[in-house]
Amino acid sequence: MVKRDIKTSISEDEVDNGLVNENGKRPNDAKNKEGKKRLKTKSLYRQPTVNELNRLQETENLFNSNLFRLQVEEILAEVKVKEKTEKKFNQWFTEFKTYLLTIPEDKNEYDLSEQTLPKKLKVKLPITNSLNKTKCVFKFHKFHDVNIVGSYALECSINSKLRIDLQIVTPADTYTKNDSINYRYHKKRAAYLAVISSHLMKTDLVEDLHYSWTNGNKTTPVLDLEPSGKLKNYFSIRLNLVCDQETFKLHRFSPLRNNLREAWLFSIENVESTEVGPPTPYYNSVVLNDLIALANQELLKEFLLKSENLKQAIILLKIWLRQRNLKVSGFVISLIVLYYVKTKRINNIMSSYQIVRNVWIALSKCYKWEKKGISLNKTDDSNIQEFHNHFPVVFLDCTGQHNLCWEMCIGTYDALRRESALAVEMLDNGKINSFIPLFMTPVKVFTQFDHVYRGLPRLLHSSTFALSFWGDKSELRRFQDGSITETVVWKGETLAERRTVTKQIIDYLMNLKFGHSGKWPGDIEAFRCLKAAFNLQIAERLNQQYSLPTQPYKTHIDVLKNGLTFRLKIAHPKELTLLRREIENGVVKYKESEESVRLQCDTILMPRLRGALHGLQTKYPAYGPTVCLLKRWLSSHLLSPPHFPQSVAELLAAAVFVHPAPSHPPALPSIGLVRVLNLLAHTDWNKEIIFLDFNEDMSREEITKLEQKFNSGDIPSPCLRIVTAYDDAMPSVWSMDAPSLQVLARVQTLARSALNYIEEGLLRDFKENVLGLFVPSLSGYDVVIHLQPSLVPYVGERVDKVPELRRLPERPAEDVIPVVEFHPILKYLEELRAAYSEFALFFHDFYGGEVIAVLWKPDFNELRDFQLLNANALKPITVEEEIKYKVNTEAIVEDFRVIGQGLVKEITVNT
């Protein structure tokens, strides 16, 4: 191999050297080199370099797959803070810091229960009026530095809505030792911030300055500001105040301690103030948050700054959290990562992928922070039980005195664990490109959860313990698995009954034992004739042996049993062979024709697919109803088959159950519908192919191969590609003819607006009823054909009708087969489409739609040439004394009336 390789490279050189360019000169050296290089890098069989080998091997070991690795690299590059931004910030920050440090000292003391300070500063104090009764005296002590902290300082920030955290340490002198109680600390802190903001009001460096409260915590404001000018397009600033750890004794804020005296709280004057009330853990945590900030930041810096992979992992985790809207701050997630580093679960030698994966595994499985919390402080976790008595989730910081997860409610914690478990599941699923659902897809409440409950937080606010310790902590959502659902059981009785009846019929047929005849004729027409003979026989026997009314046809048999008519058809593989057969030069060849494909779908592929979908239905009871809803939705927008075939709808619905990432499979049909709409709306059908592998029948290689074939045009590629393991030689057979590109585009638009409608309805306007989703718009169509309502079948299934449970009649028909499958509208549509499909498209709602909407084809109104083969519906018109031809619109509209005689009520033409 090596030898051969050398040889080939030598020969390449020879060729290169012998090259003479157009001018008869040898190409210059530089060009020559380039050429060689190109040749070398192009060849798949070149000798690998050490770097390349390393990379290829690394990918195999350290990353899920190449694709995953490349995607990780791309996303990291995308969210990385650009050098330009950094430069701009650094410049601005230097000026800003210089300015801030010029803040004047103020020797005056202010009583904060009065308005003297705000009046002097000409800014409001960022603290609620309910704290007016807190009395304290404030004196401004100048700070000495402004620091960059947070993710920007740790180099793991996300360059989307980039906000850089700045921090000022308030000098310990600002507070006295008793300021820990009754919100004095908070009040002084607010005053301090007001002084700074007043100073910042006077500079041009800053625009749009306002107070803000992290997580709705009304007692610890921060200052949000935007740099002036164009800079604000690059970043914004959050200025936070913290204090020296030495300011207060940490143990004063242990969760056991009370720092809100009852006397103060209930405004009882002159009562023994020695009375200490119950513990105030949340109040304590607010203060602790400021106290411990510096220590933890130091720790993070020490561990992370030089650990590239850890930083990358943190960025990935942050993206993942943000897509899920989980209320876990970057600070907390960084410290969680740090904790796992300290407990040796992860290290910087691991790849970012491995780190993230391990963090997820750890989060999903091992530790029950609600019962046995974790601590960054190894030496002292004796007091951890105290925290458990007061907080749902416990994660102690490096001082061991503060619960970093003090704000986290059990709901968020559960969500974190649940999502972590899901994430690991997605990573392990080789069939999907898990990167996209993990990091690129926003997970919305209404698509993720089966139930969305509302109104809880309002109740909490009205409680007498008025101060908003809780903010908006109480979660809006609750997850419930499928146990309690609102599923309407549609026609359950009849369905069940129908199933047993089918079985009975089949049993009857089996008893007939007409057996497998080897002597079917070799001519398709004769074959069909023989099938008809079988039909005749079966009908006769069923009638004689079981006294069932039957009606044989050439192609099928109708049988009446228990008031239901069954249609039986004989399927035999030979028919398919005969249809495909063609004789060429005496050799028999087999070719697919339109007819053979249809027969194959009906008799071979469909039963397999049915089996698989039935399996899916038993696994996920919401599947069937989801399909019903989807078909109804499509149909209500006049896209009944053939525009959007039933089987494509069924497969699309199956896709959200088979590939539920980034969520669980839906347990409610309504959510199922929302997910399908989501899939329809947000898939780039141009590029993506959906692979539905129900029973792990397709290998990854097969899938890759198919992808290649589709993309290279080796096999016909419909505009919506959805492949199952049962498609045989025709991948994506079910969507081969429809939907068309136009219909797909329309469905996507409709799905998008439907999703907006749902989101607005459910989350903003608090409407439960989203039936409006099913109301079509008739504007935009050229002609609308109104039908006689009395002749419209399935009127009872219209969306605006109250659903009724249809019961079987007491005494079902027994003697004569009633009229079945007589559907005048379908007949009408069939004729319209057969005769006028070159001019127009026809749309109808199968479920009781009373109109047929018509859309002229784009070239409908153009002038045409008269040609023998192309004279359909043309009428002569005179244009500038010349005879031209045009489609005779009026005549066609009249034709609609003619061939729909008796059914058409009225035709309106939109001009």
């Binding site: 080998l53 996303i75 069909r528 023989l530 050439k554 087999y590 083969l869 034709d895 003619v898 061939i899």
Partner: protein, 263 residues
């Protein structure tokens, strides 16, 4: 009513369904002239019409040209073509409505000339004939589709009889071929005395493909020689490289559509 003429002599007239039809289609017709006339479209007596609306039936068209004379026969075709011999088929499909062309055969040559000079066509419907359309047609179609078991049986028997006769005839013909002809040649057919296999591409493929494959597999020693081991290693690298290239392509695609902006 206006009439229009075109360069190649098509006459255009409006074809009404009823007397009071307001927006009729325009049909175009001319004398049917081809190099070789068939007996069912005799030269001089046949009118060739294009753009016949979908619902028009034979009697209707006869009615329309009643002004020119008696129409002997009407043939509808989807496009202008020579008459095809009717293929015998067991299941006759109902023609779905479409714009068609028609060949109208008159009794006399004068009638064609007269037709070409018409200024107006009569409506398709008259007191005696009404074109079947809409609900009435569908009901009739449905009722027509339901046949008595007896009729179906007769149908089947007639067809099979005919079929069997045809098959027999074919066999006879083949048997004849089997016999030595004057020069001593024998044609080999399916039904000959010599055992043979079906001549299908599938069979030949199978024979050729399988044998070759089996041979190859048998002769191959895997990972035996050093060069083989090297080769398989190289193959592995090549596979990895290929995958890498493909993944890169995929990334490029995703990059294009989503640009890797997570938010």
């Amino acid at each position: 009513m206006k009439t229009y003429k075109r360069a190649h002599d098509f006459k255009a007239l409006e074809l009404k369904l009823n007397v009071d039809s307001r927006s009729p289609h325009t049909i175009y017709f001319t004398e049917h002239s081809v190099r070789e006339h068939t007996s069912d479209r005799p030269s001089g007596k046949t009118l060739f019409i294009v753009n016949i609306p979908p619902y028009v039936d034979e009697q209707g068209l006869k009615n329309a040209f009643r002004g020119a004379g008696y129409v002997k026969s009407v043939q509808f075709c989807l496009k202008p073509a020579a008459t095809e011999p009717m293929k015998r088929s067991f299941i006759q499909e109902i023609d779905s409505p479409a714009f068609r062309v028609a060949y109208l055969v008159f009794n006399k040559v004068v009638e064609v000339d007269k037709a070409l000079k018409l200024t107006e066509l009569l409506p398709l419907n008259n007191d005696k004939h009404e074109t079947k359309v809409g609900l009435k047609k569908w009901i009739e179609d449905y009722n027509g589709s339901v046949v008595q078991a007896k009729t179906l049986k007769d149908n089947i028997e007639t067809y099979m009889k005919q079929h069997d006769a045809e098959v027999k005839q074919k066999e006879k013909k083949e048997k004849q071929l089997e016999e030595e002809d004057e020069e001593g040649w024998v044609t080999v057919t399916r039904r000959g005395k010599v055992e043979n296999f079906a001549r299908t591409d599938k069979v030949s493929n199978r024979i050729m493909g399988k044998e070759q494959k089996a041979l190859k597999e048998k002769l191959q020693l895997k990972n035996f020689y050093t060069f083989q081991i090297r080769e398989s290693k190289m193959k592995h690298i090549v596979a990895l490289r290929q995958k890498f290239e493909e993944d890169k392509k995929k990334i490029a695609q995703i990059k294009q559509s989503r640009r890797f902006k997570p938010f």
